[in-house]
């Protein structure tokens, strides 16, 4: 029943998800990997799983990535 897709996606949890604290503790490292074109999700699957599932941490990731790729990097 496709009408339930959004609910199903919301309810799906990933056991690799490291949670907010651990993801935020290494956010700068993860962002540098992404900015450098490295396989960040492959190297840090628990962080990747968290950033996909947690809206606020995903926003922080997007903001930091924009900061380091948006001309504020020498």
């Amino acid at each position: 029943m496709s009408e339930l897709d959004r609910l199903e996606r919301f309810l799906r949890t990933d056991p690799r998800d490291v949670g907010c604290d651990e993801a935020m503790a290494v956010l700068h490292v993860y962002v540098d990997l992404v900015a450098d074109g490295e396989d960040a999700a492959g190297r840090c699957p628990g962080v990747a799983a968290h950033l996909l599932a947690c809206g606020p941490c995903g926003e922080d990731f997007t903001g930091l990535l924009a900061a380091v790729t948006g001309g504020e990097r020498e």
Binding site: M1, E3, L4, R6, L7, E8, F10, L11, R12, T13, D14, P15, R16, D17, G19, C20, D21, M24, V26, L27, H28, V29, V31, D32, A35, R43, C44, A49, A53, C54, G55, P56, C57, E59, D60, T62, G63, L64, A66, A67, V68, G70, E72, R73, E74
Partner: protein, 212 residues
Amino acid sequence: MPAQDLDEESSAWLRRLGAAGAGRRVAERDLHARLVRIALAEVRRRAASTPVAGQELDDVAHQAADDAMLAILAKLADFRGESRFTTWAYRFVILEVSAKLGRHYWRHPLVALDAGQWERLPDRFGIDPERHAEAAGVLAEVRRVVEEELTAHQRRIFVAVVVDQVPRDALVAGLGLRKNAVYKVIFDARRKIRRALVAKGYLEEPGGSGDE
């Protein structure tokens, strides 16, 4: 993630910020100016999702830059070179913007805490219970799990975040909770609801995609 040798730019920042006298002050001014630019860009990027606007939004950005600057200088010795220095430093200002927008949310809240707007849940998931009897059953089961299987504390958090759409950073600030504690409540509630919906035959058993 092992610490790496410092890149040239990071070394230069540490050298300048660790210098004495005028050199250090210039470096601090340079870094602060960058933090202000990033904070202003970040509050504007988030403007559509916060009730904070206008001059107050700019004030949040400047406060975030000031507080981030203090934190960076206080924690300079903690920088281990796992990332570029600037990425490490910018993380402080991004997280400050998040936290400050969460606190400022309650000056102009879009929804009150404990509003309990269950009637809006179908829209939240794009479900039309008028069209499908099964959808109505699913929504009723979600509500039953929330009301019967969660503690009062868990229920309050779930209803605020999922039903009433209170931003998580605002809820963290409003209830004085840790971000991870709120996430854990939602994470556990999602698992409970999913189990209940699978047991009732509304959803299939999770597959092998890394899901539980």
